[in-house]
Amino acid sequence: MTLVNLTPEQMVMPLIGGAVIGISVSLLLLLIGRVFGVSGILGGTVFPVKGDTYWRLAAVLGFPVAGLVMAHLMPATMAAETPSDIWVYCLAGVLVGFGTQMGSGCTSGHGVCGISRFSPRSIVATLCFMAAGFATVALLRQLGGL
């Protein structure tokens, strides 16, 4: 393993971004009393429950709108490179959709909200998806995909 040398700015920006995320999940909890789990909110728009759908749709819409704003203000943050073949993104999407529903959460619901509550389920879930992410990228590297 080698370590990328980070400039102070490369450490401060993620900290600021993280703090903004912490504020946003606090905002949702304070205002409407919900945990900000993106996969859970999205799941409730794919399979709507009466009386519990519109706020979810509004949340799902808020993300790309933020993306449009950031593409103007800080284009570098939105210059997503997608070097893999399209079928890789298709498979990755299916795994992310299926896995987050089965595991009741993703990076936001478990990784941020759950860990902040010290929820044992979220701590285990986060360790599992981190480990699987490390293993997958290590495997891709072995196979020459990186």
Partner: protein, 140 residues
């Protein structure tokens, strides 16, 4: 209506945070997961930043009897570790490592209009449907 605006606003702020933190760049995410190669630990700071803020605000907010715009807090209370939690999270992690997107950043990256991002998000919704089918088939 207020609840809808609140949800939109929170997600908007969330999306800004994800972009500022670098989570919207799949190459950055894969660099963070690449511990056997050239490891870029910067995204760990996103997690640290988010948890340090919310670990404090969560406890302050939960002192209130109810949220501002709705009747009660709906926070998960389960504490049991089951196979679904573990297996589901592993499947999610594999997809995250493969594409470099988790759900929030993928939705933000829709703004780039890239076909591969659209495919990822559509496939993610497909995965949600697939899970519903699987859950029905395996229900006792």
């Amino acid at each position: 209506m207020k609840i809808i605006i609140a949800a939109f606003l929170s997600a908007f702020v969330f999306g800004i945070g994800l972009a500022l933190g670098g989570m919207t760049l799949p190459s950055k995410v894969i660099g963070f997961l690449d511990i056997t190669g050239n490891w870029d630990p910067s995204l760990a700071f996103v997690m640290v930043g988010a948890i340090s803020v919310h670990a404090v605000t969560y406890r302050l907010i939960m002192k209130r009897p109810s949220p501002i715009l709705s009747a009660k807090f709906l926070v998960p209370t389960r504490r049991d570790i089951d196979a679904k939690l573990v297996v589901g999270s592993i499947i999610f992690g594999a997809g995250w490592g493969l594409g470099g997107f988790c759900p929030g950043p993928a939705l933000v990256a829709l703004a780039t209009g890239q076909a591969k991002v659209l495919v990822f998000v559509a496939a993610m919704c497909g995965g949600i449907v697939l899970h519903r089918v699987y859950a029905k088939l395996t229900a006792p």
